[in-house]
Symmetry: C2
Subunit: 552 residues, 2 copies
């Protein structure tokens, strides 16, 4: 563009849309040194989504479904960073810092937005806190470890109710990703459980929740019915016309009031626009950026969008493109051509593509597929599924590794090794439904709680029924501090009198800060002193202790 400087093409996002744009640009600009390509992505690899469910069961090695971006685009500058903001007016994006606190500011002449969408769980109570998302590699690994963890616990648990809760697995969402996830989860749990000496296979319950009357609404009815029958035969309980309302630590809450006791709730349903995309000053349609037939954002010349975050109309049918990898890859190639055409003052071309087909794996040698109008199910569809995805998996080394994994998987038993690298978080949010016990008198206290919403009742059991009246706490008030400050067992039982949200601060984090920051210790000692005063005084003191607060 300007004089001797090289044109900077910046791609945001390393999913199918972003990565294939970079690959196509590298090909088109091979002997052209007037432009440089950069890509910003949180990870340095592409997750091959269709194979993600197989990570759960370990039938594919953890690193084998993902391809390093650098290997696919050797001539692109990769910034492995989180994007903090996009400024279309000043043509800059800001990426988070890494070592130290410096951010990177990146300018561009052409910007390709390929940020996909995210799993948002903020709309239903308790989902953020307890539901496991299933979208990226980290999610798949976390889920795998979690499943092994509950099996471990179930193996040594003697209380039948607790064991039943541990052995119940709930997946919400009967679309492709929900069905593939529940199929692999079911296979893995049932095969893995045979390695545990005290788990009775009959106690395992795997439930799929689906809001509609038939799972896999993307497929023709016959195939969907086939999938339903097959999953049911393998032990998956399918609950149709059923919606998830929320979650607590020990249950999935359904609309209509039913609770399913479980420690494993996977949700694949709520897909929300990426917050970075939602904040853009462009025209949006259902949370996606409206682009013209060339995939350009009309209001901002030089800005383009592809993939799940773009609202693009197919040139042939005039219909909006569905959010699939097939479409993202074709859009990526077209946007790369159009950017190069713009640089060379050549005419741009409109986007048009019809999906080739749809496939879904049902685990354990079965799948359903509709390809070029042809309907397939069972083993043949599964064979086709594997062959097509193996062909599509980018990189020869990956193809070899996955093919080897699949071969070994036919002869070797599943892995039940639990990989833990995470440290326990110091601060977490929790949600309780009305009437739940948060902790009991006599328990060891591991958390301090701050109420953010609802009302909590603290009941002291000082022998006999004539104890002190319960203290009631509202937003901005703290409880459970005594056990952590004084390092003793809980002296009261805490119960939610309404639906309650709290922030829980872990023992170790809290004590580290408390021991080293005297004013905080002072604050809590004061609080404890006031609470141990007689009941009448206590209520006043408790309100006072929340200086500037809003104790309801």
């Amino acid at each position: 563009m300007t004089g001797g400087r090289r044109t900077r093409i910046l791609i945001l996002g390393g999913g199918f849309g972003g990565l294939y744009t970079a690959m196509a640009l590298e090909r088109l600009l091979k002997r052209d040194s007037s432009a440089e390509i950069a890509l910003v992505n949180k990870e340095n690899y592409l997750v091959f989504q269709p194979m993600l469910p197989e990570i759960i069961s370990g039938s594919i090695g953890i690193l084998d479904t993902i391809t390093p971006i650098r290997r696919l685009c050797p001539n692109t500058n990769l910034y492995t960073r989180t994007i903090e903001s996009i400024d279309l007016k000043r043509r800059r994006i800001r990426a988070a810092g890494s070592f130290g606190s410096q951010q990177s500011d990146l300018g561009y002449d052409h910007l390709v937005i390929a940020l996909g969408n995210v799993t948002s769980m903020a709309s239903q109570p308790g989902l953020c806190e307890y539901a496991l998302p299933f979208k990226n590699l980290g999610d798949a690994l976390t889920l795998r470890n979690h499943i092994i963890h509950v099996l471990e616990e179930a193996d040594i648990e003697r209380d039948a109710d607790v064991r039943r809760t541990l052995l119940t697995f709930v997946v919400a969402g009967g679309g492709f990703s929900g069905v593939e996830a529940v199929a692999e989860l079911n296979d893995f749990v049932r095969a893995g459980a045979t390695g545990f000496r005290n788990i009775n296979p009959a106690e395992i319950r795997v439930v799929l929740l689906h809001a509609g009357p038939l799972i896999l609404p993307e497929l023709p009815e016959g195939l969907a019915r086939f999938a339903q029958r097959l999953l049911a035969k393998r032990g998956v309980e399918i609950r149709l016309d059923t919606r998830l309302r929320g979650a607590t630590a020990g249950a999935a809450l359904l609309e209509g009031g039913e609770h399913i006791g479980t420690r494993t709730l996977v949700t694949t349903v709520p897909s929300a626009p990426n917050p970075l995309v939602a904040a853009l000053p462009c025209r949006m349609e259902r949370g996606r950026i409206v682009v013209d037939e060339y995939l350009a954002v009309p209001e901002y010349p030089g800005v383009w969008a592809v993939g799940d975050c773009a609202w693009a109309l197919d040139g042939t049918s005039g219909q909006p493109c569905p959010p699939t990898a097939q479409h993202a890859v074709r859009q990526a190639r077209r946007v790369a051509e159009n950017i190069v055409a713009t640089l060379r003052n050549q005419p741009r071309r409109a986007f048009a593509f019809q999906a080739l087909g749809k496939m879904g794996s049902l685990g354990h040698h079965a799948a359903v597929a509709e390809i070029f109008g042809l309907k397939l199910s069972g083993f043949l569809a599964w064979w086709l599924w594997r062959t097509i995805y193996l062909m599509k998996l980018p990189g020869l080394d990956r193809k070899i590794r996955v093919a080897t994994d699949w071969a070994l998987d036919l002869i070797l038993p599943p892995d039940i090794v639990q990989l833990r690298t995470e440290k326990s978080p110091g601060i977490r949010r929790e949600h309780f439904e009305p009437g739940e016990i948060i902790f009991r008198a006599g328990d060891r206290g591991d958390w301090l709680y701050i109420v953010t919403d609802g009302e909590v009742e603290l009941v002291q059991h000082e022998g006999g029924e004539a104890g002190a009246p319960p203290a009631r706490l509202g937003p901005g008030q703290v409880f459970g501090e005594l056990a952590l400050v004084r390092d003793q067992a809980r002296v009261a039982t805490a119960r939610s009198s309404t639906s309650v949200d709290v922030i829980a601060v872990g023992r170790e984090s809290f004590q580290t800060v408390l021991a080293n920051f005297p004013p905080l210790r002072g604050l809590f000692e004061e609080l404890i002193m006031m609470r141990s005063a007689p009941a009448g005084e206590r209520l006043i003191a408790s309100a006072e202790s929340n200086r500037g607060g809003d104790p309801r």
Copy 2:
């Protein structure tokens, strides 16, 4: 023992010592239902330590060096829990809770302590905070991800000094584990770096620190010299007679005052007794439990100890057994025999075993070995190394998987995928040497700091040199709060005037609590108000704000 109840044999620890004890007991008690075996371990798998270094380079799949304990001991009750305390007098151990807060109390008739030792870094400043240990699977994965992360950053870093620091890798300790780790790290970094377009291989520096005059002191001098030459040829800089004194975020500190700028410091040196073992009321020798010739703890009948945590004398030589897997496995078999002999009132047998040999891999098709007095080096030793360890790897499925990995590794390029599942911690400790900048005015503030040791200087730059005199903060005082409470850039520069230890609280954790717990907000608003008062007032206020504190 007592009437009709089954004898409870409880094993603590799932390393070679504990696991092989369980396996031997299962074999010896095959048709005997009068005893039951239980094992408590933090993980549900055995890490095959000799292959751990290969995890770094990814030449072995992550899950392939580890064997699920349940598969090796199908008739043992496995408790995947952290042990909290051992009570030898009341014959009970307490394990941490999992879901909920209940702990498990386990009683025993026979107790086998096989808790190994731990990496302790508390003795040198900054090691806890910045050095990476290399002992278990999580460590290997963390190190692998960290190496890829610094390569990512080096690839986009323009400041030559910062890049040099990122591309310097330091391993402390020239024993077997240090040498094997540095060999694999060196191979991986140099092969992996070729995938990054902006990294100049000549800038990569891999340093091995060793306290003695020759690495691998366990081996004959000739083999050790061979290893030194080979590592040097491959680009490892070996610093002999050099001790690590400590670390900061950006440097390894050597005794004598030298600093090596690095973001990657791996330490394999300080091996300390497991705190659970150290707390036992038994006779100890160099932190290990003294056992008699039958591997029993004399003071407590029914209590036994094996492996690295036991101080056992070899029956033939009278020498203490070295802490190796070979010895742990032989001790495990003998202790199992002796427990069964005790149950059946048969005579017990003394322990005696001479090591068969020693081997160390040097990465990339080379190793050194001394077996039955024979000395081997180079390719032949490496071949032997692989063959022997493949034979020793427990479980046929693992053998097949590792053999396949090794075969693929010969033809495929190394992986540079960075797997992140951890969330960033909300609270961490940091260490600064005198005169380091903690943050600069104008930086974005991501952390709040509490001084735990030393003195920090806060300098305000209000244009010109005649700014306010620096504020000096000591233990128990907080700084950096303004940027987090008011969400603005740093207004002052913080520098360590002495050696300083701080606790850093992350922006997100802090703000979550601040927004929901009004008294804390009050506390900090007060603090900020006092600090923004004129200098004279400020010093008094600052001291006051630490009610009950000890501001030096």
